[in-house]
Symmetry: C2
Subunit: 340 residues, 2 copies
């Protein structure tokens, strides 16, 4: 199956160079891929190598003169930046010229524009942000990571449906284990919303595995962890903070004097392997779920390798028809609930 | 100043041996310390070395025949375990025989009993759990870590006051920087409770530093981070999960074949230093704040060294009169607010 993606080539912290490099690499790795590079035409044209090694019909530049900046308010970007690379890329998905869009731009603006242009799926009011996180033996998908700050139990239930479809599609798991993020103290186990969501999940056909706690996110215990966007965002960023602290301490200790530096040199093959396994770039590409179309958000600071992982994520979502499957499963579950 | 502490010697996962070992070590390190070991008398007596190297008046066994188990419901423990080591230890604080209590038992039960026996300070309805977390250059105190699941802005404001007093006392900082934990997306920056708390903090005399995100917890940016107990508990445990994952990956990679194991051996002095700096035992001892008395919760799996850190925390809180100072500062801030 041929897959056409629209890449927002102008957003992100590192400029269009990394997007173009990622695009060329992805075209090499995926024979069925067509890419629409959206952004300033003359700028992008200069970045393309003079000798193009692949069929030029597979890489097309779509001109967009404006850029949504990283700190622009989503409402302003939505209203005033109709010719931005971000907006035009999403318009291409709306017009079915592309099956999905990948952007490393401003998350809030991307969500606002995607929601406005593409609309949400039937039964979904609130899209959610989902990403895979590394675990001891395999990754776990977690959502919502910050698209919403207050969620009802019905919304959390729908996040569970969306996460289950994504995990099933990406990991080829027929019936992913879905858990609710909670806190561990007995009497006060969870707030009312979490308890009500648990009841909805227990009564559903989803493979509901009960509550998990924060440390289970990285323990490969379940396939999907559901939480509200405030909690998910804090947990994700706190985890990044710890990883950063460990790296900082390792670097400090391994550069403390000549002997330590020598040891770092000797141990570097193993330290390199550890670094590669924990490399956040491998987990780049957060899915906006619940929209009529696939939108993948790359980290703002993504380099070319990292952005290519986000492209891979978008290709998989398109090939596995994630939005359609979310819509079908949700409808099925809601009908089943009524019949009970 | 002489400090008397009551140690719940029977709770925790590792039994009274580690508590007794920690007690003996603490008595050696603190000349002004008296300890009341609360638990089964014959069991504890057997664990004490025959030749006691210190003034026996500094270590007294207080008999308590029952134990609160790790998974007992707090309400049941409160009602039925009036002769438990946990309850008797807290009673000793109530009766002013001890200035503080340290326990590695069931957190929910400890909080329920402490709250019932000691009562909360004037102006405080909800005690909170606070701990220091490691940072790039210095630790940050974070609360609440799970005593409450839903908190109003007034409650979060009081957590900020309590955290500020604790940070000031422990770190000798006259005016600790206090921040609110929030998520990073612009338009939707925080829920209503967080926004209202920010307004209360801005109008107060506390050294309010604005919002921080999850990754700032470990960045040594501020002295105190305030959040509700659900978010705090998840963030704390997610961080433990990442630390555990890093350790797991390091161990796996450094034991992959003879060469890697050799490198591990060579690099072990540096890896040891990294391990010591990141050692969670050094951060053991969570403070229950907002009570008429000091209660320090040690991790359930604490070893003797780790439990001794919790004892140190309790000594500092007593010496610095943390409960009294919380009460005074809160009263002062609430009067100032009325006068505005």
């Amino acid at each position: 199956m041929n897959v056409a993606l629209a890449l927002d080539a102008m957003s992100g912290d590192r400029g269009p160079e990394v997007i173009v490099a990622a695009a060329l690499a992805a075209l090499k790795h995926h024979g069925n891929l067509t890419l629409l590079l959206v952004g300033d035409e003359s700028c992008l044209r200069q970045l393309l190598p003079s000798v193009v090694e692949f069929d030029p019909s597979r890489l097309r530049i779509v001109h967009a003169p404006e850029v949504v900046s990283m700190h622009e308010r989503p409402s302003i970007a939505l209203r005033n930046k109709r010719n931005s690379s971000m907006r035009v890329a999403i318009d291409l998905v709306k017009n079915a010229e592309a099956a999905a869009c990948v952007s490393s731009g401003n998350t809030g603006a991307l969500m606002a524009i995607a929601r406005f242009v593409l609309k949400t799926l039937p039964g979904i009011d609130r899209p959610a942000i989902c990403t895979a996180l590394p675990g001891v033996t395999r990754p776990t998908h977690m959502l919502d990571l910050g698209a919403n700050v207050d969620s009802t139990s019905e919304e959390l239930f729908r996040f569970a449906v969306m996460g289950s479809v994504l995990a099933s599609a990406i990991d080829n798991t027929p019936s992913p284990k879905v858990a609710l993020l909670n806190i561990g103290q007995e009497e006060i186990k969870g707030n009312d919303t979490v308890k009500q969501t648990a009841a909805l999940l227990e009564a559903s056909e989803l493979n509901y595995a009960g509550f998990v706690e924060g440390d289970d996110i990285f323990a490969s215990k379940v396939d999907v962890i559901v939480c509200d966007g405030f909690v998910g965002n804090v947990a994700l960023k706190a985890s990044e903070g710890v990883a950063h602290l460990v790296k900082h301490v390792m670097r400090e200790e391994f550069s403390r004097g000549l002997l330590s530096r020598l040891m770092a040199g000797i141990a570097s093959p193993v330290l390199g392997r550890v670094g590669r396994r924990m490399d956040p770039r491998r987990y780049n590409g957060a899915s906006f779920l619940g929209l009529r179309g696939s939108v993948v958000k790359s980290h703002g600071s993504a380099d070319a390798l990292s952005f290519e992982y986000a492209i891979d994520e978008a290709i998989l979502e398109v090939e596995k028809k994630v939005p359609e499957r979310i819509s079908d499963l949700l409808e099925h579950l809601l009908v089943a609930r009524k019949e009970d």
